[in-house]
């Protein structure tokens, strides 16, 4: 039987790799992907905890469903923003979009 | 313009009686000098390139003439007489048509472009440009149409050899014309 720690470590690795990606990548789509990794690590944690610790074993799955919903919404919006950005600036690199500061 | 010596065709005194449509055109556009002759089935107006734009605009925009249709442009190498551009205008409204011959003196193949008046003139002028080397001033995009982009020869010149043409290729900025 696979112990709970395995899942936790797996999700910790995924999460920190996601953090690394968010911090280092330049392309906005890549950052978005890294965010997806982090979200997945979190929902994996939810499900693992629920499977091992929750007697009903369901709440984790329900939460994962919500996480997926939010992720889908986030991807849709973020990609729309990226496409709009690309249309205006011909780039999807976040470094080149520093006009937050003029 | 009749004083200018380099337009021998126009120097002759205009015929007193204009045939067919030419009479109407003379009535409507008296200021433009032309020589009218009859071809096999039509009337030919002969003018110099400096009058073309005026005549064309008059033909197109004068009520009663209404030549709204740029039908054709034939470029002819008349050898020692220079290059001819034969325009063929027709009118959908009035049901008449006329042929206009523009005579360019040898060595000066410049004609004003009619692309501003008729959209149809664009490709015809490009074709005439590459085939005999007429240069249309004011054309927006005067470049080869049927031949290669960088092939600057003029095949429809009578002097163009028929076989074994030495094709000068790959010279982007060569002067128009073929080295004979």
């Amino acid at each position: 039987m696979v112990p709970l720690e395995n899942y936790l470590v797996l999700s910790a690795i995924m999460f920190s790799l996601g953090v690394y990606g968010v911090l280092t990548r330049r392309n906005a789509v890549l950052i978005l992907m890294s965010v997806e990794l982090m979200l997945n690590a979190v929902s994996l944690n939810f499900v693992a905890f629920a499977s091992y610790l929750d007697p009903s074993k369901i709440i984790g799955a329900v939460f994962a469903v919500f996480v997926i919903t939010v992720a889908a919404a986030e991807v849709g919006l973020a990609l729309a923003i990226i496409i709009r950005l690309y249309r205006n600036r011909s780039t999807a690199n976040v470094d080149e979009v520093a006009t937050l500061k003029w | 313009m009749s004083q200018e010596p380099q337009s021998p065709a126009v120097e002759e005194t205009p015929a007193p009686q204009y045939p067919g449509i030419a009479a109407l055109i003379h009535k409507k556009l008296p200021s433009i000098p032309f020589v009218a002759t009859e071809t096999k089935d039509n009337v030919d107006l002969r003018i110099g390139p400096e009058n073309l734009l005026e005549l064309a605009r008059g033909l197109k925009e004068t009520p009663g003439l209404d030549f709204d249709f740029f039908n054709n442009l034939t470029a002819i190498d008349m050898q020692e007489e220079g290059l001819y551009a034969k325009y063929f205008f027709a009118s959908y409204k009035q049901h008449h048509d006329v042929q206009v011959t523009v005579v360019t003196p040898p060595g000066e193949p410049n004609i004003p472009s009619l692309t501003g008046l008729w959209g149809a003139a664009n490709w015809h002028e490009r074709e005439a440009y590459e085939m005999v080397g007429l240069v249309f001033d004011g054309h927006p995009d005067l470049k080869n149409l049927l031949l290669d982009e960088d092939l600057h020869i003029h095949p429809l010149l009578k002097a163009h050899p028929l076989v074994k043409a030495e094709i000068v290729q790959g010279i982007e900025d060569a002067t128009p014309g073929f080295k004979f």
Binding site: - | Y92, K93, Q94, H95, H96
Partner: protein, 380 residues
């Protein structure tokens, strides 16, 4: 009892062995079917177009499929210099694997298939949703603009049509109260679900054509525009993988559609006779289904991308939501099943009838002769 039965009655290592055998059989059968589907398509479309189709290789050109296979296998496998190597080479497999995955849970006869899943229907559309990834990989990895455009179109189209497709299937699942394909089939003992859900059927059929990139929704592969789209750079064995995917998924969708809507192996009298007859029923239905796809392809021109999107979002989606809502009402309030038929068939008849009527009441084009109008101001 049928030779290969669903479920894991066999314990231990033998269960794995069992699965491998089943998958091997199903894959083999599917490959042969696909080979002859290409031949069948050429013949069928040729008949529609007053041609003969392949006639030279073997009697009636029967060996054409085999000859084609050998040709494809022995052709040089080209890879453009500008292609992204791994993406380019992986794409055909990523496209093909989901089709195989779908075949795992399709019931070809009673208790006859690889494995019966309680979430079977959900599994099928989850798996078939994956095959777009391979197409996108092909589009991105080929280093070709036509491929890129094809991939773009495929993605847009697939995202749009997945929604009415899934919702129409969920409508059926609502009626059946299960996602288990075997149970869904058994429930159609008396009447197939097409009787209860004609509107869902029409929407499913339309969206399925779009998912398969078949005419009139073959925009991603439009030959006259983008010359084959995403697989333009492929040749030989990799190209044949795409071909295999196309026809394999056509087959899978046909079996799936006939299971869900036409009663699969059950209707009529399938449950009473035996597995041979059930297999015959399944294949008959799915071949009729395929023939209808080919027929549509042979007659109908292609839609434009905006018309395609508009059709999905403005016509199919509202209608399928309507169907969904109606099913909900009928199930919650326990209204009779005839009402399902009535409401749904009104919608289906409206959708089809509208299109057919517009075709029928169009004047004949030779009769559209304007009287000879003398141009204005003519004096001649």
């Amino acid at each position: 009892m049928s030779p290969l039965s669903f479920g894991n009655h066999i314990p231990g290592l033998w269960a794995w062995f069992d699965v491998v055998i089943r998958i091997a059989i199903v894959t083999l059968v599917m490959t042969v079917i696909v080979m002859y589907l290409t031949y069948g398509e050429r013949k069928f479309v040729a008949r529609v177009q007053q041609r003969l189709g392949p006639m030279r290789t073997g009697p009636w050109g029967l060996f054409q499929a085999i000859a084609d296979t050998f040709k494809l296998l022995t052709k040089e496998d080209l890879r453009p210099a500008q292609a992204d190597r791994w993406v380019f080479e992986l794409a055909p497999y990523v496209t093909f694997v989901p089709v195989l995955m779908v075949l795992v849970t399709l019931p070809f006869a009673k208790d006859w298939g690889v494995r019966n899943l309680s979430l079977g229907m959900f599994y099928v559309f989850a798996a078939l949703g994956l095959n777009i990834v391979g197409i996108l990989m092909a589009g991105l990895g080929s280093g070709n603009k036509y491929a890129l455009l094809g991939g773009l179109r495929a993605a847009a189209q697939m995202i749009s049509y997945e929604i009415p497709l899934v919702l129409s299937l969920i409508s059926v699942a609502m009626i059946a109260q299960t996602l288990d394909l075997n149970v869904i089939t058994e429930l159609q003992h008396r009447r197939p679900f097409i009787v209860l859900q004609p509107l869902a059927f029409v929407i499913f059929y339309t969206a399925m054509l779009s998912e398969l990139h078949r005419a009139p929704f073959d925009i991603p592969v439009a030959e006259s525009e983008i010359v084959g789209g995403f697989f333009i750079e492929y040749s030989g064995i990799r190209w044949s993988m795409f071909q295999l995917t196309e026809y394999g998924s056509m087959f899978a969708w046909s079996v799936f559609g006939s299971v869900v809507f036409l009663g699969g192996w059950e209707w009529p009298w399938g449950g009473d006779v035996g597995w041979g007859y059930q297999l015959f029923l399944t294949f008959l239905k799915s071949f009729i289904w395929i023939a209808s796809i080919l027929w549509v392809r042979a007659t109908v021109p292609r839609l434009r991308i905006d018309q395609l999107m508009a059709f999905s979002w403005k016509v199919l989606l509202p209608l399928v939501l309507l169907q969904f809502l109606m099913n909900g009402f009928i199930l919650v309030y326990g209204w009779p099943e005839e009402l399902l038929f009535a409401t749904s068939s009104i919608g289906a008849a409206g959708l089809i009838g509208f299109i057919v009527m517009r075709g029928l009441y169009r004047p004949k084009s030779p009769s559209l002769v304007g009287a000879y109008k003398q141009p204005q101001g003519s004096s001649a």
